[in-house]
Symmetry: C2
Subunit: 496 residues, 2 copies
C-alpha cells in the first residue's frame, strides 16, 4: 500500500469548498492551508501525549466595538504543553502556534516545528484555535453561527489576531512570564496571521515564522495566474509529455462529453462513484487533483511525479483520457471508484473559509487564455461579488487586507519598519507565487527551498527528509535563536 493510498482515506478533510477548478466558476480558488500530515496525524488514535493540556479562555466576541453585544464572550480553546519549558524564572521562550481555518486537533501532533524544537528552545508550547473553528465556535455549531448574519460578521482575521493578542497577554500574566519572548508560528492562512500578528502586535510577539504565507496574493500584487503558473511549471518540469497530455485533456473531455451518451462514457472511463452530470464535474475534480499534487508535492513520494509516472507510463498508444486516468490512479491508488465530489465536502474548513473568502480574504486567483496548462478562467470580481452577495447578503471587501495589513511595495515599506519575521516557502508550492521570496531587511527574511512544497518546513520531520529540507528547518531555528539571544542580551542591558 503506497502512501497515496494511506492519504486517500483522509483526503476529504483537507480541501476547501472552493477548491474545485476555477474553470467552471471563475471565483473559485484552490484550497489554501491544509497540512496533510497534520491532519493525518491527528486521526491516529492515541497519538497525542498527555503533556498536551486543553483549556478554554473567555474570549471577547468583538474587540473593536463597544456595543452591548460586543461584550459577549465565547469559549476559545487553547492547548499548552509545559513539558520542555524552562519556566518563567529563566524567561524561557513561548512557541505559540496560531490556529488557522481548521479545528486545532491536527496541529497538536502535526506541526513538528513546535514539538520537535521545544526541547531545544526550552519552550512552552501554546496552540490557540482560530475563532469559529473546532471547539471555538461562538454560540453553537459553525453552520448555526454562519447562518446568523449578525454573528458571522465577527468571523474575520483582525478579530482573530486580536484574540491571540488578548489570550497571549493573559497567559503571560497568568504564568508570571512577562519576560518570556513569544515566537508565533503559522502555516498558509495561519502563516499570514503569524506575520500580520508580528506586524500589528510587536509588543506581544518577538518574532514570527510564517510558513507558506501568500500575503501578496491580494489586490493584484501577485498576477492572478501566479498559482496555476506554478502548478503548470511543476508538471512541465517533471515531464513535458505529461504536461502536454494534461493541457490537451480538457478539450478532449469536452469533446467526449458533447457526444451522445458522452457523460456516461466519461463516468465509466474515470470510474466515478456517481454518474457525471456535466463535464465540469470531472474537470474541476482533475483540476483539484493536479493543484493538490503540486501544492503538496513533497518527498519522498512527490505526487506530481506519481501522476506523471502514471500518465507517461500508460501503455503506448493509449487514448489521451486513458493516460489521464492512469495518472489519477497512480496518485490516488486503485479504488473501487473515484469520488469527483471529494474536494467539496462540507468540512468546517470548507464552510468556514468559504465565508472568510467572501468577506475579506479575497485572493484574485485566475488564469488567462494560454498561460497555464488549464483552460482559461480569469478572476472576475463582479461575478465573485455577486455570488458572495447571493450567498451571504454582503459584499466582499477586496481592498481591506492591503488596507489593514499592507502588501504593496512591501520591501520599501518594511525595510525600515518591522523586524523578526521569517517568510518560508517552497517554490514548487503554487501559493509561493504570493509569498515573500526576497529578504526585506536583516531580520525580515525569506527562507525558501527550490524543491519545497506547501508548509513543508513546519510539519513533522521524516527519516526520508532530503538535505535541503533539513537545512531549511535548521536555518529557521538558527534565525529564531538569534532573535532570542539578542532579546536576552537587551533584557540584561536593561536590568543593569
Amino acid at each position: 500500500m503506497n502512501s497515496a493510498t494511506i492519504l486517500l482515506q483522509w483526503l476529504p478533510l483537507f480541501f476547501l469548498l472552493f477548491s474545485t477548478s476555477v474553470s467552471s466558476s471563475p471565483h473559485k480558488i484552490p484550497k489554501l492551508s491544509p497540512l496533510l500530515e497534520t491532519i493525518l496525524a491527528s486521526t491516529k488514535p492515541g497519538s497525542l501525549s498527555d503533556d498536551f493540556k486543553t483549556f478554554f479562555y473567555n474570549q471577547t466576541l468583538d474587540h473593536f466595538n463597544y456595543r452591548p453585544e460586543s461584550y459577549a464572550i465565547f469559549q476559545q480553546r487553547y492547548v499548552i504543553n509545559f513539558k520542555h519549558w524552562g519556566g518563567a524564572n529563566t524567561s524561557s521562550p513561548i512557541l505559540a502556534y496560531l490556529g488557522a481555518e481548521a479545528p486545532l486537533d491536527g496541529d497538536l501532533t502535526g506541526v513538528g516545528f513546535l514539538t520537535e524544537n521545544a526541547p531545544r528552545f526550552n519552550a512552552l508550547q501554546v496552540y490557540i484555535e482560530h475563532r469559529y473553528y473546532g471547539k471555538s465556535i461562538p454560540f453553537g455549531t459553525l453552520e448555526e453561527a454562519l447562518k446568523n448574519a449578525s454573528l458571522r460578521g465577527y468571523f474575520n482575521s483582525a478579530q482573530a489576531i486580536a484574540d491571540y493578542a488578548e489570550l497571549l497577554l493573559y497567559l503571560k500574566k497568568n504564568l508570571t512570564a512577562q519576560h518570556s519572548p513569544v515566537i508565533v508560528v503559522g502555516g498558509s492562512y495561519g502563516g499570514m496571521l503569524a506575520s500580520w500578528f508580528r506586524l500589528k502586535y510587536p509588543h506581544i510577539a518577538l518574532g514570527a515564522l510564517a510558513s507558506s504565507a501568500p500575503i501578496l496574493y491580494f489586490d493584484h500584487i501577485t498576477p492572478q495566474n501566479g498559482y496555476y503558473s506554478i502548478v503548470t511549471k511543476d508538471f512541465k518540469e517533471e515531464s513535458e509529455s505529461c504536461y502536454r497530455a494534461i493541457r490537451e485533456s480538457w478539450a478532449e473531455i469536452d469533446l467526449v462529453a458533447s457526444q451522445p451518451d458522452g457523460l456516461s462514457i466519461l463516468s465509466h472511463q474515470f470510474n466515478t462513484c456517481a454518474q457525471l452530470n456535466k463535464p465540469s464535474e470531472l474537470k474541476d475534480y482533475l483540476d483539484s487533483v493536479y493543484s493538490t499534487a503540486a501544492q503538496y508535492n513533497h518527498p519522498p513520494n512527490y505526487p506530481v511525479t506519481q501522476i506523471c509516472g502514471g500518465i507517461d507510463g500508460a501503455p503506448k498508444g493509449s487514448h489521451l483520457l486513458s493516460k489521464i486516468f492512469a495518472g489519477l490512479v497512480a496518485y490516488k491508488g486503485k479504488k473501487p471508484c473515484y469520488d469527483t465530489d471529494q474536494y467539496n465536502y462540507p468540512t468546517e474548513t470548507n464552510i468556514g473559509y468559504g465565508w472568510q473568502r467572501c468577506s475579506e480574504m479575497v485572493m484574485p486567483i485566475g488564469r488567462g487564455s494560454n498561460d497555464t496548462m488549464f483552460p482559461p478562467a480569469p478572476f472576475d470580481l463582479g461575478n465573485f461579488t455577486k455570488d458572495c452577495k447571493t450567498q451571504y447578503g454582503v459584499s466582499p471587501r477586496p481592498h481591506w487586507v492591503t488596507t489593514y495589513y499592507g502588501g504593496h511595495d512591501i520591501k520599501t515599506v518594511l525595510n525600515k519598519f518591522a523586524s523578526n519575521i521569517i517568510f518560508s516557502n517552497g517554490l514548487r508550492d503554487p501559493y509561493s507565487s504570493g509569498g515573500v521570496l526576497e529578504n526585506i531587511s536583516e531580520t525580515v527574511l525569506a527562507v525558501y527551498t527550490v524543491n519545497g512544497s506547501h508548509c513543508l518546513d513546519i510539519i513533522l520531520e521524516k527519516q526520508s527528509d532530503p538535505e535541503w529540507l533539513i537545512q531549511q528547518r535548521s536555518t529557521e531555528v538558527q534565525i529564531i535563536e538569534g532573535w532570542i539571544a539578542k532579546y536576552y542580551a537587551d533584557l540584561l542591558l536593561l536590568k543593569k
Copy 2:
C-alpha cells in the same frame, strides 16, 4: 486687555466634561487635548483662506466586522489645501493632520505645523475629521449617536485610525499620488492617534509627528499622580509661596463652607455667577483653573506665572482665600462674575470624549495623599467602571489600549521595530508625564523642551516665540526632511 481676557471668551469650548477636579469624583481626569490657539483661531471670522477645500468621504462605519449593519456608511469630512503641493509627478509629500476629539474647524488655521511648513515641504495639506465629531457624526447629532447603545459602539480609536487609513489610500489613488510620502501629524489624543497610525499602518504613513501624546498613561505604566505632580511642580518652581497658598487653600475652603452660611460667603468671595451648592464646585473649578494653566503654560504670558503673580501680589496680610481669588483674577481677568461651571459645558469634546474615556481611553489619573498640592483623590477603577456602566451600560476596557497598541516596555519593543516617529513634548505640560521622553531608536525620537507646554510645537508660530521653541520646531522639520530624503533615495534605487 491681556491675552487671558481674550482667551476667556473661548474657554468654554476647550474643556472636557470630566475636566473638573479629581477630588470630588475620583474617576474624573483633566482635559486632554484642546489646542487653545487652534480653537481660538477658528472662531475668527474670515480667517480661513479659500485654499482650504472641504470634501466628504463615504466612510465605512465598521471596519472590523461583516455584519450587514457594518456596511453602513457615513459622511466623513476632510479638507485639502492644494496651494503648496508640488504634485503627484514629483511625488511631493502629503502632510495629514489626524483629527482628534473636536470638530475639525479650529485645526485648519490653528495647527501651524501644517500651514507654516507646507511651502517648505511642497506639501499637500490634508485634514481629516475624527468620526463622531463636527460634521462627521454618523446619522444625526452627537447626542443622538451617543444615546443609541448600538451606534456609539463604533466610536473608538481603532475604527478612527482605520478611517484615516481608508481615506488616505483613497486620496492617494484619486490623486495618482501613490508615491507621495504621507506624514501624519496630531496633538494630544490626536498625537496618540498619529503615533499609533504609524505603528499600525506603516504602509500608509511614512512617519508621524505625535505632539504631547501621553501614550504611556494607560494601564499604570505611568504612576497615577504623574499629571498632578507636574502641575504641582510647575507652580512650586514658579513660586514656593504660591504653591503653599494653593496647597493650604483646600482645607480653608472646606472650613469656610462648613460654617453657617459658609457657601454664601464663598460665593461672594469668589464672585461666582451662581450660588455655590457645595464646596466641591469651587474646588473642582480651581483644580481645573490650575491644571489648565499648567497644561497651557505657554509664552509669552505663562498662565502659571499670571496666577502666582496674583496670589503673591495680593496685599500683605490678605486672607488666604483672597490671595487665591487674586490669582484667579490675574489669570482670567476682571469679570462681572466667575462661572464655576465653565469647564463642564456640554461641548462636543466633553460629550464625545466622555464616552471615549468610558469605553477604551481609560487613563488612571489620580493623586495620593501627600504627593501634590491638591487634596488626595486616588484613581478608583471600581468606581470608575460603576459610573461608566451606569451612564452607558457597558464597562470600560482598561487594558485594551495596551493590548492593541502596546506601551509596556516600549523601549525594548520598539527599539528594533518601528521607525520614523517623533514624540514631542514640553516638560511643563502635565501630560508629558505619560509621554515618550527618551529616544527609542535612531528614528523613533523624543524631542522635548524643558519649558514647553501642551502641543505648543504644532500650534501657530508667534513673534514672541522663545528660541527654545523655534529650535524644537526646526528640529522636528529637519527630522522629517531626513525621513523624506531617505524615502526618495530608496525610491530612486528601486526604480534603477
